[in-house]
């Protein structure tokens, strides 16, 4: 079989792109952005309906739109983008040809068809079953079929990624270990494999049930196995966006991890323990013992939390070290003040990091505590939490990476650079508002996935406190601003890719590598500790920020225990 070995070198960055991989990355990225566009349009319906003063859509339409919004955002946008990141991490960073590009295309088209089939079922109107699709509430068979096709496509892409790693090793395209970003991508891909396996275990029988070949699906079994798929897929996102943080730190600052050992060990903890955290969706469910709940969601989960806390320190820490080497050594925070806040690649990454940690991380651990879950379960606090993790964390990190990829991958100049400068702030801060206000409303008991908290026409209405209505209105306003921020991203991206000025480089050339790429000589690493810090630390500013984080975490955690202690005794 002939093997395409054509490469191009990006003149600005020196990155090497294998042509078939390059094309697959571009198409996956485009499919991701299209999904984001659909999900974003649907978000308008969700936001304007839950803002009770507007209450735009009728109930059936609202539940339908909410279902489609969740699936397009959480699955299609993020996973298409992640596949592009996987190919980048394997082919480009290892300077290696992509293994079996034909299989890459097969995977891509399976994903596209799956996404279309699933959207078709939801827009038919008889599959408004939400992202979670809890049996025995049933959807049209094409709902499950679409998800299965998409998952198979994603699995194929993961194996193209693994195959590329094998090729890279066999053809000796890199020396020593794989780079940290690739290591993180491997973590994401490994988690993706067992995530998709869990998805197959639950979605295939449910599909058979929906066409009448299986006659009973146990609701607790469904929920347990489904979350091994549903939550783990969010852990794929965490591994992927943490890799993107490291990538952006390296791209913008030339930062190197403070120690490879710590960062990589933290990724390993993800592989070992993240999957167990899926159990925290079952804390308020009958039929599972407290021992099971505590082991899965705490003992093991907290080792994954530990890993995230480590990344939360090492990413800004590596930036601080890089900045201090450049001479920004005044006080604790000059390195941060003098960071390129006007570069959307950096600002998106930094807001993503802070939002993920402070809003998403702390609230997630609180919710995942067995007893505390009682005062939060299924309230709108939960969407508040995951808009901080998945939207500020993952989506914003991916947006930041996009600003780097447009010139490098699509070879176009970034359109509307001034708008791009502000986009991460508009989107990130507004989404921070959404997360905070939804969490606030959730602590007042406002349910999630609920069309009318006013209970108009109900025989036994509940009157939520005024503060809850205010929070929902503020969440609505923040949501609209966030949608504008998302629109800015879409405009910049689509305009740049299709209408942007082409980057013409005189030195641009295709390179043919007969036996893989010749390994470049890597300069010997200097001493890791360069002595630019203070108090015996190379990153004292980051450490101070980490302590602020810890204090917030501890306070918030115990405030919730205090709150729990005031509700009715239960046993």
């Amino acid at each position: 079989m002939p093997v395409n070995r054509m490469f191009r070198t990006d003149p600005a960055t020196g990155l090497v792109f294998h042509e078939p991989a390059d094309k697959l990355m571009r198409w996956n990225a485009v499919a991701a952005v299209v999904s984001l566009l659909i999900g974003g349009l649907l978000a308008i319906g969700v936001v304007l309906t839950r803002w009770q003063a507007v209450h735009l859509l009728p109930p059936d339409r609202f539940y339908q739109v909410l279902t489609a919004h969740g699936i397009n955002m959480l699955i299609f946008w993020i996973i298409f983008f992640e596949i592009a990141v996987l190919y980048f991490a394997a082919s480009t960073l290892l300077k290696c040809r992509l293994a079996t590009p034909a299989m890459g295309w097969a995977g891509f088209w399976l994903m596209v068809v799956g996404a279309l089939v699933n959207n078709y079922s939801v827009f038919r109107g008889d599959s408004s079953v939400m992202f979670t699709s809890y049996a025995p509430m049933g959807a049209h068979p094409t709902f499950y079929l679409g998800l299965i096709l998409f998952a198979v496509g994603a699995l194929v892409a993961c194996f193209v990624f693994f195959g590329t790693l094998v090729v890279a090793r066999a053809e000796r395209t890199y020396r020593n270990s794989v780079p940290l970003v690739t290591f993180g991508a491997i973590t994401a891909a490994i988690i993706a494999v067992f995530t998709i396996a869990a998805g197959a275990i639950i979605l295939i029988p449910t599909f058979l049930w929906s066409v009448g070949l299986v006659n009973y699906i146990d609701s607790l079994m469904y929920k347990t196995v489904w979350w091994a798929f549903g939550h783990s897929s969010q852990q794929v996102n965490v591994a992927a966006h943490v890799s993107v943080w490291y990538a952006i730190a390296a791209i913008v600052f030339g930062a190197k991890p403070m120690s490879e050992k710590v960062s990589r060990s933290a990724f390993l903890l993800y592989i070992f323990f993240l999957q167990l955290a899926s159990a925290h969706h079952l804390l308020a469910d009958p039929g599972l013992t407290s021992n099971w709940k505590i082991f899965n969601t705490s003992y093991a989960m907290y080792l994954a939390v530990l890993a995230s806390m480590v990344h939360g320190l090492t990413v800004p820490g590596s930036i601080e070290v890089a900045q201090r080497k450049k001479g920004y050594t005044q006080g604790l925070f000059e390195w941060l003040r003098k960071a390129p806040w006007g570069n959307p690649c950096f600002s998106a990454m930094f807001i993503s990091l802070v939002g993920f940690g402070f809003l998403g991380g702390i609230s997630g651990v609180m919710m995942g505590t067995e007893q505390l879950n009682l005062i939060i379960h299924n309230t709108i606090y939960v969407p508040g939490h995951f808009h901080a993790t998945v939207v500020i964390g993952t989506t914003l990190a991916f947006m930041g990476l996009t600003y780097f990829l447009i010139p490098v991958l699509f070879r176009r100049e970034l359109a509307f650079p001034t708008m791009a400068k502000y986009q991460p702030y508009v989107f990130g801060l507004a989404m921070g508002g959404v997360a905070l206000f939804l969490m606030g409303a959730g602590t007042l008991g406002v349910p999630r996935r609920h069309w009318d908290i006013g209970f108009a026409g109900n025989a036994f209405p509940y009157e939520f406190p005024g503060a809850a209505w205010l929070m929902m209105a503020l969440a609505g306003i923040s949501g609209l601003i966030a949608i504008v921020g998302g629109g800015m991203y879409l405009l910049i991206t689509v305009w740049s890719v299709f209408l942007g000025k082409k980057i013409q480089t005189p030195g641009f050339q295709h390179v043919r590598a007969r036996d893989g790429m010749a390994p470049r000589v890597v300069p010997a690493a200097g001493p890791v500790i360069a002595g630019h810090g203070s108090a015996g630390m190379i990153a004292p500013g980051t450490f101070a920020l980490a302590m602020v984080f810890l204090v917030s975490f501890v306070l918030y955690y115990f405030v919730n225990w205090k709150y729990l202690s005031t509700v009715w005794p239960l046993k």
């Binding site: 609701s219 030339g254 007893q371 036994f460 009715w568």
Partner: protein, 181 residues
């Protein structure tokens, strides 16, 4: 470019930096504290979800609920076409609460300071028991009879909402719970 470079040294043999080491120790200690909070609360806290649950058939559960309603019904509430019985069970007794599309049945009237064994089960799809404004939230499954012992603290009129999406009329699934002296 640093993004694609690695050091010559094998990564697991690299030295640990002090900032990282101190943070890892602090974070690990905090993770262990959070872990021990849960068993601690089982021993010394008042709010723990029951581990008591049984597999049950919807018809059997509904029959038991009807027996309690027949014995302890005190009045009916609601508009004529949707009358819901209000049950005032004796303190300490077993009480049955049915979740179904799209109502809670029956309505309960409990005494403050007394404990009750509330049996929760769904007849059809998943539902979410959400007691407001206490904000106690419990998942309700079909086929799993969950027994939760509660002790209401203050008299008043409370609401039970459904907070697990259960189809197009999910938002209409609301009921009351009375706590009297």
């Amino acid at each position: 470019m640093t993004i694609s470079s690695t050091s010559e040294r094998v990564w697991w043999k690299e030295p640990l930096e002090r900032t990282e080491l101190i943070w890892i120790v602090i974070a690990l200690v905090w993770c262990l504290i959070m872990f021990f909070m849960m068993p601690y609360w089982h021993l010394y806290g008042q709010q723990n979800l029951a581990n008591e649950a049984y597999r049950a058939k919807p018809a059997d559960f509904a029959k038991k609920a009807e027996e309690i309603i027949a014995k302890h019904k005190v009045r009916e509430e609601g508009p004529d076409n949707l009358k819901v019985p209000v049950v005032h069970p004796p303190a300490g007794s077993d009480v049955y609460l049915i979740a179904q599309l799209w109502r809670w049945y029956p309505m309960l009237e409990l005494e403050a300071g007394k404990s009750y064994r509330i049996h929760l089960m769904s007849m059809d799809w998943l539902h979410g028991f959400s007691l407001q404004p206490e904000n106690i939230n419990i998942q309700v499954h079909p086929g799993y009879e969950h027994v939760v012992t509660v002790t209401p603290t203050h008299p008043g009129t409370y609401s039970i909402l459904c907070n697990e999406y259960c189809g197009v009329n999910h938002h209409t699934m609301a009921s009351r719970l009375y706590v009297v002296k």
